[in-house]
Symmetry: C2
């Protein structure tokens, strides 16, 4: 049997809090016998809600009380200074102290980034957590980072994102040589902004499987495994994706409701449309990694339902099992060593 993995969950975070987190926890405990969970939050609330959910593998589930909770709109600095007993903070403490090997929260992103940075700390040589998400692509998926953790990133940061994304793809996809692309504008002869041009030089010098510049549409074409960009650009690209997908699916639905004939066609096409929706169900891709920390921290979407939150737990479990932070640490070292050697030689 596989060694067990213990994951701490922020039961109070996100739009639905315990209503999403607890059903996801129970369901995932049943699905994965090597999983142990620490449920962090208001103990009496958690116990009450658990009762309503029926029988659960109690022996692999611990409730850890936390008396406070960070609100979705709360400024990160306030969350950091004012709430020592928030579920997010207590969960991160458990992670730092080795009680858990991963932490999952659907709470306030800014607070999670700031608290993780402060409590869990960064790997040597990395300044701030990068937010990585996996998106569907033709024939598979693509790992994209950064998605908002860092804006105004320098070329060195983009290089770090590339290393971290590459290690993640190696570990999670068993892909020995992930193709890394640098997001840039595509017009011939318009060569992109300064940071991207400088990062391109660093990436060419690196030992990564760097395939060069890619454009926004390449994210979804299935021909690149890791897409590297500044957090400002990545966040806007990801949100654009959500907006386009919502507009297209809304309009498709409206077209099918236009008249009696189209409504009939919709009934007949329902199984196909359902398969299509499942393929791109954003819930399946829930669970963004905060990379560059000393331990595994996963950010679930704030609006995640139980199914979506379960995917974030699965992602946490995969990263913890592979000890992704250690893998990143080792690879960043190798890369930096290469660069030091190169500069000594030159």
């Amino acid at each position: 049997m596989t060694d067990s993995v213990t994951i701490a969950l922020d039961v109070m975070g996100g739009d639905h809090g315990a209503d999403s987190v607890l059903p996801a926890a129970v369901s995932q405990l049943k699905a994965d016998p090597s999983l142990r969970l620490i449920l962090v939050g208001d103990e009496s609330l958690i116990r009450e809600r658990l009762k309503a959910l029926g029988p659960a593998p109690e022996d692999r589930m611990v409730v850890h009380h936390a008396s406070e909770q960070i609100e979705m709109g709360e400024p990160p600095m306030q969350a950091l200074r004012g709430k020592p007993d928030s579920s997010m903070r207590v969960g991160l403490n458990l992670l730092r102290d080795g009680e858990a090997q991963a932490f999952v929260s659907a709470g306030n992103t800014g607070a999670l980034v700031a608290l993780s940075h402060f409590v869990v700390r960064m790997l040597p040589g990395i300044d701030r957590p990068a937010i990585q998400s996996t998106v569907p692509a033709l024939n598979g998926h693509t790992h994209v980072l950064d998605l908002g953790g860092n804006v105004d990133s320098r070329a060195e940061h983009l290089l770090q994102f590339a290393v971290m994304g590459s290690v993640l793809a190696q570990e999670l996809d068993d892909n020995p040589s992930p193709r890394v692309g640098l997001l840039n504008v595509g017009e011939e002869n318009i060569k992109g902004n300064r940071q991207v041009q400088a990062a391109d030089i660093l990436l060419r010098e690196s030992k990564l499987n760097y395939i060069g510049y890619i454009e926004g549409d390449d994210i979804y074409c299935g021909e690149v495994d890791v897409v590297v960009c500044d957090g400002f650009v990545g966040n806007i690209s990801l949100k654009t994706t959500e907006g386009v997908a919502r507009m297209l699916t809304t309009s498709l639905k409206e077209e099918f409701k236009r008249n009696l004939y189209s409504r009939l066609a919709m009934i007949l096409a329902a199984p196909i449309l359902k398969g299509f929706r499942r393929l791109f169900d954003p819930r399946r891709y829930n669970g963004a990694s905060l990379l560059g920390l000393r331990h595994v921290v996963i950010k679930s979407h704030g609006s995640a339902d139980a199914f979506a939150f379960e995917q974030a737990i699965v992602r946490a479990q995969q990263e913890a099992r592979r000890d992704l932070p250690m893998q990143i640490d080792q690879n960043i070292d190798t890369l930096l060593a290469d660069r030091v050697e190169a500069s000594v030689e030159s």
Copy 2:
């Protein structure tokens, strides 16, 4: 009868050159009796191709010979210095000299931006052309700029884009008070990069109907008329849109081809799917404006077919008829005057 408008067309530009441009020209001349066209390019080739297209309104159509042509991958500096008789250059000369009121080209974007800048010149106070495109949105459309003309834009440039986009929406949509949004990242408390924060302050001081920060998904929600962003970000957002739309439509098609039942459903759903495709047909939105120039220059997509190129001619005609460059010039002046007053008062 409306006053006539004369538009010069680059017959040699784009992937299909005369094969797209000439059918579009003839069709649009027939559709719009007040339109006059100057067809710029290899005269013997143009006359030969026109013959094959059958009868055309010859009296409103002039062929203007140009012996050279700019290739799609050619560096802009080479296009600028080495080819004084290219169809693009000659067309822009006609525009500068008042022979035409607009110029449309499907050629090399970098060369068109550089040559327009050099030949047609910028309006006072504007540094470089901004590329503006109109995209479909729920219940209408949204005007987005810049899409790649300027990278590393300063806050002042973003303000200029906002004024130009707002004037464009006023003129083309008869919208007296277009809602202007500034593209930013959306996480609470992560306030965006430096240029955006500085531009936000300038926009709040302006007389525009500025609605504040918007996120990537808002481009398509129908609740903003003009989206302002740096060209790097805008280009990536637009290309992301293309990539997502392509992935979704490809996958929908594949789902419908999966088995006998789904193929049957596809036949029945065909009229609905066709209506859906027409709604978001990118060809309908072809024709990006190069704003900030003294005259109307429209960039058609390089891969445009005749139908798509015709939409670019329509856009050129609309902008020329309203004298959009003059409208922009007047509004930029007003805005700058306000700011000078404000700084004098403070």
